[in-house]
């Protein structure tokens, strides 16, 4: 709450991060797995050459050149740029969280940059040296590229997994080693390594799709590519189980609440995305098996379809990973709306102080006015919720009454999905009035306070909203069921 909140209509800052990140995850894993593919295929070509099958070796290298051209343009233009893009976007979505990561891990990042610089240069030497480099050098360059790029995954994986499971790191001890080699570091690293082999193999299918179906090379290239995909597709669920065992307790509970108790089978967003990742994994497996048994039908369309499946699966997995941190952006330390856990631990004196006095990014408002509620919303809610777009607040509050809203803000954090409300009774009243005002109801904070006082005076539980309205059935079902009156 020290920084302004990017109050982007409809999308919200979070979705901007997600859009860039989902794409980047595909390309960046391809950038590494594709490196392994280049390395092994160069080796294959060299062995063909050495065993005297010159023509076969040349054909494999022809194929590889196409792969490499696509690889170079795709990974440097889209991969590298979207990588920078994630950094830009997270700094806008959570300046405070980004700042903390940078201040804690700047030299890890700088090391990753060196690695990336080497990775980029090796790729250029490999590609632009195609004509003149002896084949042994090409094998070595591709291998070095793969090794170096995998090391960049090693580094970024430490920072990424740190956000979800900081382990022994705290804001006070700033223990770099504990934070970097955190509980989910190894499962996450190996899971990603296997995934990138899978994507590298699919990249091979993409180029194989361009070979004529009569081409005798086609079945061999298809099967070579599939040999990257199939073992990976089998390993991913097993590795996920390991990863799962390292996740924080409340994350596990969050997912299980979504599917468990089949009596209450509503699915939270995090569970839906996990299902998506699983379905996509099964579909990739099925698609690649078709390719193995009918290699000649692998057209560009088939390969693109498989790539799209993986892209959607990765989207599910990455959304899962992001949502697993709820309500934190840095688990146990910083909430997703930039509220510090230490401020929450300080209790009422900080948490219940007038909010706009602490959050200074507002031009000054009339207490209990619409503007008051709007600025509370903007500075406290808008980092996750838009008004009527992504994670829209309108559909989540359709059934709210003033008394309910006023009371609910005090307990919304108890489900472990939202941060606690910051501010005084007047802040709560102003926010409730603003949200109801968005629904077209004319009232201000004073009316909310009055309604809450009456409800309190009647000593009855606050009146439930009209039974006709099913709050969970609204656009998204993230809202904990128990939180409903």
């Amino acid at each position: 709450m020290n920084y302004p909140v990017w109050d982007l209509p409809v999308l919200g800052a979070g979705l901007v991060v997600a859009i860039i990140a989902v794409f980047h995850v595909l390309v960046s894993h391809f950038a590494i797995g594709g490196g392994a593919f280049l390395f092994l295929a160069e080796w294959w070509a060299r062995r063909l050459h050495q065993s005297g099958r010159l023509e076969d070796g040349e054909r494999v290298r022809d194929f590889l050149h196409r792969y490499a051209t696509f690889f170079l343009v795709f990974t440097t233009v889209f991969g590298a740029m979207t990588g920078v893009g994630i950094w830009f976007a997270i700094a806008l979505a959570s300046p405070e969280g980004t700042s903390l990561l940078i201040h804690q891990f700047v030299f890890a990042w700088a090391t990753e940059w060196v690695v990336f610089l080497a990775e980029l240069s090796l790729l250029y030497l490999y590609y632009y040296g195609w004509k003149h480099n002896p084949q042994k050098d090409q094998v070595l360059l591709a291998g070095a590229y793969f090794g170096v790029s995998w090391f960049s995954l090693f580094i970024i994986n430490g920072i990424l997994s740190f956000m979800l499971t900081p382990g022994g790191w705290t804001l006070e001890n700033r223990d770099l080693t504990a934070g970097f080699f955190n509980p989910s570091f190894w499962p996450s690293l190996i899971l990603r390594t296997v995934t990138m082999f899978l994507i590298g193999g699919l990249g091979g299918l993409l180029i194989a799709g361009r070979l004529e179906s009569e081409d005798p090379l086609k079945p061999r290239v298809v099967r070579f590519s599939a040999s990257f995909v199939i073992p990976a597709a089998i390993l991913v669920p097993l590795l996920f189980a390991w990863y799962w065992s390292t996740l924080p307790e409340n994350t596990v509970k969050m997912v299980q609440d979504g599917v468990a108790g089949l009596g209450g089978g509503r699915l939270t967003a995090i569970t839906r995305h996990l299902i998506l990742a699983g379905v996509a994994g099964a579909a990739v497996m099925a698609g690649v098996l078709i390719a193995v048994f009918r290699p000649r039908v692998v057209t560009t369309g088939v390969a693109v379809a498989l790539m799209v499946i993986v892209q959607m699966g990765l989207m599910g997995a990455e959304f899962f990973r992001e949502m697993a941190r709820k309500p934190y952006v840095l688990h146990g330390t910083l909430y997703s709306n930039s509220l510090w856990r230490k401020d929450v631990d300080a209790g009422a004196p900080v948490l219940q102080a007038p909010f706009l006095g602490r959050a200074r990014w507002h031009p000054g408002v009339e207490p209990l006015s619409r503007e008051h509620g709007e600025w509370v919303f903007r500075l406290q809610c808008a980092s996750c919720h838009t008004r009527e777009g992504y994670r829209g607040i309108l559909s989540r509050t359709a059934s709210w009454t003033p008394e309910f809203a006023f009371r609910w803000f005090q307990t919304m954090h108890e489900q472990g999905v939202m941060p606690p409300f910051q501010g005084s009774a007047e802040d709560r009243a102003a926010l409730a009035a603003y949200l109801l005002d968005l629904h077209g109801k004319t009232l201000d904070g004073r009316d909310v306070l009055e309604a809450a006082r009456k409800a309190e005076a009647a000593k009855a539980p606050p009146p439930a909203p009209p039974p006709a309205n099913p709050p969970q059935a609204a656009a998204d079902t993230d809202q904990p069921r128990e939180a409903q009156p």
Binding site: S213, I275, A283, A291, A305, V308, P470, A475
Partner: protein, 370 residues
């Protein structure tokens, strides 16, 4: 040992699995009882031309895939849906039934994507001129299927009985009511009374889960049989190539197998859409309340709805007559534009098609924005 079993044709004997294998025995057993070898041979020989428009040939299969998804998810939803308590039962599906929300969202998204795929299938068939003789009846059955699919959408939309579905249906039927002479009668017949009520559900539900599926399945069978008998049409540009340059895919061994990964991708897409944008259930319909602002029909009715707005007051009749001409003209196209390769009529038909498509897109967008 005389019997009425049919002899196995020598050609079949050669191409089936060897008779000492289990598959070989089973196929011969069947073939001796059902002598369909000529049909099998015909199907096995079926070829799809390979050219740069090939991607459009996948659209029919995609529609069929979505239809299959609809049948499966529809049956699952029907297990819990209760037309006597429409909204409450849908709420139960969303809130209590395991994975009910997911199935419902997939049903919703597959419906929309199916209609989108039908549009793509229809327009690609039109612009590749696959409707010309001898394929007129394939075209006509296709048009009927497109119309019935929209009826599917319209009848299914009401079933959850929430605010949105109620008012959108009311608006939709009130457009029908404006038709001359029979409008009122027709609207009453559809609604089961002067207004949309639970009685309407009692009509839409059997329509949606019994009548339309039966008719559509029958028509799909006809449509596909026509295609199998006549083979896939070849575009003019493909026919113009010298024979040695024309390449084909086998329909079953290659073309269809290559389409399976695409279906898999679309299946995952449905799950992704259900994960990202699950179908909401609004508050239960309250016929006494005033309609929420900006209520509109579903997007596939939007262009017609918007077009009718161009004809206010007494011009309305004219608008309806013009709109009715569109499907009529589409049915008649193959009987008018018959020449292969395309002649002046053919080129005119293409231009009209482009104008029609542009009008459809423009009207739909306008409907969205207004």
């Amino acid at each position: 040992m005389s019997s009425d079993l049919s002899p196995i044709p020598p050609e079949a004997d050669r191409r089936l699995p060897p008779p000492d294998t289990r598959a070989g025995r089973a196929t011969r057993w069947l073939l001796a009882r059902y002598p369909v070898w000529p049909i099998v041979e015909h199907l096995a020989e079926k070829r799809v031309p390979r050219h740069r428009h090939s991607v459009w040939y996948a659209m029919g299969g995609i529609v069929l895939f979505f239809f299959t998804v609809q049948v499966i998810t529809g049956i699952l939803l029907m297990v819990y849906y209760d037309p006597g308590q429409p909204w409450q039962s849908v709420q139960r599906i969303v809130m209590e039934v395991p994975y009910g929300a997911l199935i419902r969202s997939i049903h919703h998204w597959a419906a929309n994507l199916m209609i989108l795929a039908i549009f793509l299938h229809l327009f690609s068939t039109f612009f590749l001129k696959a409707y010309r003789p001898p394929r007129e009846m394939t075209w006509v059955t296709g048009l009927m299927l497109a119309g019935l699919s929209m009826a599917f959408g319209f009848s299914g939309y009401l079933l959850p009985w929430d605010d949105l579905s109620f008012f959108a249906t009311r608006v939709g039927i009130s457009e029908i009511e404006k038709a001359p002479l029979i409008g009122g009668l027709l609207a009453d017949l559809i609604r089961g009374g002067p207004d949309v009520t639970v009685a309407t559900i009692n009509r839409f539900f059997p329509l949606h889960v019994v009548v339309l599926p039966l008719v559509v399945l029958g028509l799909i069978t006809l449509h596909l049989t026509f295609v199998q008998i006549q083979g896939v049409s070849e575009p003019d540009s493909f026919r113009a190539m010298p024979p040695e340059k024309r390449k084909y895919h086998k329909f079953f061994g290659e073309f269809l197998v290559a389409e399976v990964p695409v279906w898999l991708a679309l299946g995952v897409l449905l799950v992704a859409l259900a994960a990202l944008a699950p179908r909401a259930l609004d508050p239960e319909a309250n016929p006494a309340a005033s309609a929420p602002e900006g209520i509109k029909p579903e997007w596939y009715f939007l262009s017609q709805y918007q077009a009718l707005k161009l004809f206010p007051g007494s011009l309305e009749l004219l608008g309806q007559a013009l709109l009715a001409l569109v499907p009529l003209a589409m049915v008649l196209v193959p009987f008018w534009d018959r020449s292969i390769p395309a002649d002046a009529r053919g080129r005119l038909a293409t231009r009209m098609g482009i104008a029609g498509l542009a009008g459809l897109v423009a009207m739909t967008l306008w409907g969205f924005l207004s």
